[in-house]
């Protein structure tokens, strides 16, 4: 039977079990939207294509299933770019579908034409410009396979309008033929043996766990692995939730705004076991002194990450979940009392804490959100101080519960991501912890949340500043607050104008009751927390410094 390219696309998406698409229509995707009209796929109309990309990204991170976003050619496609780059940096399985001008107009600077495959070349795992409707079914199948396997990432499919409107036979694609793409799963046994030897010989091991633990679903294996070795676990921002933050072996987050005990432990360990992490500069600080006494084992599915930033003694290339199992098969339990005692001492001496003067401090707000949600909410964030406070004070214990823009650091990520999270996890309590700067970068998506009755809670840590930049200006630029003082709208009225509920909290005594009300509400809620304006995120490793040189 014959179908239009657009219908073949929809059939292929259904074959991939896509239940939700985040998108925005336009001229060159009219045939696709026409085919969607009768489809069993829920379409969520975001108010900006960037919002659609972030929502699809949030959906993917929360559910573990690929997120799908759809935009028209030209500006629609370029508006996806930040969202695609964001997914690329954090290894999120995203399939971005864009309309393109018909082949007859391609390359002529036609109306709303942009070379989106060219523009996104460095920020996609792979991309396709579809030449013929007969290729569509195969391309969609390949795109989902590539996006979700190995180290996941975004794949873009650019579909010219004549391809989506031309009628063609729909043939279910057979086995994929991708001779250049062979993601690894098991590690070579010699690598496992070498790693096991180094572990057995170590006295002061530290596990450094990244987002790879969550992506590969290895949280249970990591817990057993850490308990077997009795080794402390420091997580990256992306790794939060991959190891229970409440566990005695948890060191919390390491790096620039990590806990002192995590950073001390990394500085003094004799073996660093990197598990699905990529030695980002925000984690390592000054590279020359990072874990300088330690042998380094690097477990990662992406061979290109091994040896990219730091010298690695023992590379272990494989899927983290499988490799941890391989390792546990050959490892003996160990105790390491002295090392753990030392870490316990650091934990007592340098706890993660703030000066609580009973004013409305942002850290207190986040602790209260933690208390009231029992640590069971799904938390998204924007980027800045509030993001770091969330990482420090909301003790994450479950994978896929902390959803934040790590690599790219995209302000404006949190609210659309929360929409995607809520769409993928309808029964869960979802919070976007935001700043008064970030929230305005995609504020229009509040309309989407109201429109689709997605009861997200947006907690704005409103300090009247672009707080993180102000903090750097305070510390490194002699308090010259250049362009960081913000003039803000009335967030309560704004929320109400969009049809959401709005609250304002100015005093500590209002914090608990207003939060209770917000969580109970079945509508989207925005709470404007008028927090202390010049609070800093501490501790802090100054940029380019060693992890041992922490401020605060």
């Amino acid at each position: 039977m014959n179908y239009s390219g657009a219908e073949i696309l929809i059939k292929s998406l259904e074959a991939e079990n896509v239940d939700t698409i985040f998108g925005y229509p336009g001229g060159q995707v009219l045939p696709i939207y026409d085919a969607l009209y009768d489809a069993d796929i829920r379409h969520i109309l975001c108010r900006h294509e960037q919002g659609a990309a972030h929502a699809a990204d949030g959906y993917a991170r929360a559910t573990g299933r690929p997120g799908v976003c759809l935009a028209t050619s030209g500006p629609g496609a370029t508006n996806l770019v930040t969202g695609i780059a964001n997914a690329h940096m954090d290894s999120v399985p995203l399939v971005a579908i864009t309309g393109q001008v018909p082949w007859s107009l391609l390359g002529r600077d036609s109306f709303q034409e942009a070379d989106i495959t060219g523009i996104t070349l460095p920020i996609t795992k792979h991309s396709y410009l579809v030449r013929d409707p007969s290729e569509l079914a195969r391309i969609v199948k390949e795109a989902f396979y590539i996006a979700t396997t190995g180290r996941p990432g975004p794949v873009l499919i650019d579909i010219p309008k004549d391809v989506s409107s031309t009628v063609n036979e729909y043939i279910v694609p057979e086995e994929l033929h991708l001779p250049g793409y062979k993601p690894v799963s098991e590690a070579d046994s010699w690598q496992v043996v070498e790693a096991a030897k180094a572990i057995a010989a170590s006295e002061r091991p530290v596990i450094y766990a990244g987002g790879g633990v969550i992506i590969s679903g290895a949280h249970e294996e990591l817990l057993r692995f850490a308990e077997l070795l009795m080794a402390p676990v420091a997580t990256t921002l992306m790794g939060l939730g991959g190891f229970p933050g409440t566990h005695p072996l948890s060191l919390g987050m390491l790096g620039m705004h990590g806990t002192k005990y995590a950073n001390f432990a990394v500085c003094e360990c004799d073996l660093l076991i990197a598990v699905g992490a990529r030695f980002d500069d925000r984690v390592t600080g000054k590279l020359e002194t990072f874990a300088h006494e330690a042998k380094v084992i690097h477990i990662d599915i992406d061979p290109a990450e091994i040896g990219k930033n730091v010298r690695v003694d023992i590379p272990v290339n494989g899927d983290v979940k499988i490799v941890l199992k391989q390792l546990m098969n050959v490892l003996q339990p160990r105790l390491g009392e002295a090392w753990r005692e030392k870490i316990q001492m650091w934990k007592k001496e340098y706890p993660i804490d703030f000066c609580d003067n009973r004013e409305l401090k942002p850290q207190a707000v986040i602790r209260e959100i933690y208390r009231q949600t029992g640590g069971n909410a799904r938390i998204t964030t924007e980027v800045g101080q509030h993001q770091m406070w969330t990482a420090q004070y909301y003790t994450f214990s479950k994978p896929r519960s902390f959803i934040s823009s790590g690599g790219l650091g995209t302000m404006g990520y949190g609210m659309p991501a929360a929409i995607g999270v809520q769409a993928g996890c309808p029964g869960d309590t979802v919070f976007d912890i935001a700043g008064d700067g970030s929230i305005q970068m995609n504020i229009q998506e509040l309309c989407t949340a109201v429109n689709y009755e997605l009861p997200i809670n947006v907690a704005v840590m409103d300090n009247g500043f672009l707080g993180m930049v102000r903090q750097w200006q305070e510390l490194f630029y002699n308090r010259r607050y250049s362009q960081t003082k913000l003039f803000n709208p009335d967030f309560v009225k704004l929320a109400e104008a969009y049809g959401a509920e709005g609250f304002r909290v100015t005093k500590r005594s209002e914090l608990a009751p207003v939060l209770e009300q917000a969580i109970r509400s079945s509508k989207p809620v925005m709470i404007d927390f008028m927090v202390e304006s010049e609070e800093n995120v501490m501790p802090m490793v100054p940029p380019g410094e060693s992890l041992s040189k922490m401020l605060g």
């Binding site: 495959t117 070349l121 250049g180 290109a304």
Partner: protein
């Protein structure tokens, strides 16, 4: 150190842009890049000459492998190999210099492919140092124009860099 990589890629539109873009955004230096069809019409073969130490070469190779359309990468420099480059040089000629240039053409086993009233166009193939020497010897006469294909390379002997060989090896692994 200079490495010569033989890279087999799927013959898809945009593959050259993917490879070239990768080199520029990761800050790797390409000395030369030559591309054309291989013995299999669906597979193109690139010869990439890259400058860098072992750690750079390792990153180049790993990053290239991440491109979905890249099937196989071989560093021929690690083995016994032959490499060649084809160059065309248009050189200024006067009646007084023509004989001398033709003598050089003989010595370097080059070929004259076009004769103009005031110029000769010469084709020469060979390994890099020979071509450089030829270029230098023509320079005093005035080189009007020069074009080089970039290096192509192949392993010596029966060993070959092909996909079937690659797949066979994968099956035995």
């Amino acid at each position: 150190m200079t490495h010569t990589l033989a890279v087999l890629v799927e013959n898809t539109p945009g593959i050259l842009a993917r490879v070239a873009g990768l080199f520029s955004r990761r800050g790797f230096n390409i000395d030369s890049l030559a591309v054309g069809r291989s013995e299999d019409p669906g597979i193109s073969r690139m010869t990439i000459v890259v400058e860098g130490d072992d750690s750079i070469l390792e990153q180049v190779t790993k990053q290239l492998h991440k491109l979905i359309d890249v099937i196989k990468i071989t560093d021929v420099t690690r083995d016994d190999f032959v490499d060649r480059e084809l160059v065309m040089i248009k050189v200024n000629t006067e009646t007084s210099t023509r004989a001398e240039i033709m003598q050089l053409v003989d010595i370097f086993r080059a070929r004259i492919v076009d004769v103009g009233p005031k110029s000769l166009t010469i084709e020469v193939t060979g390994y890099e140092s020979k071509i450089n020497a030829f270029e230098n010897s023509l320079r005093p006469f005035g080189i009007l124009e020069m074009v080089r294909t970039g290096k192509v390379a192949m392993l010596r002997g029966f060993k070959s860099i092909t996909i079937s060989d690659h797949q066979k090896r994968e099956e035995t692994n």
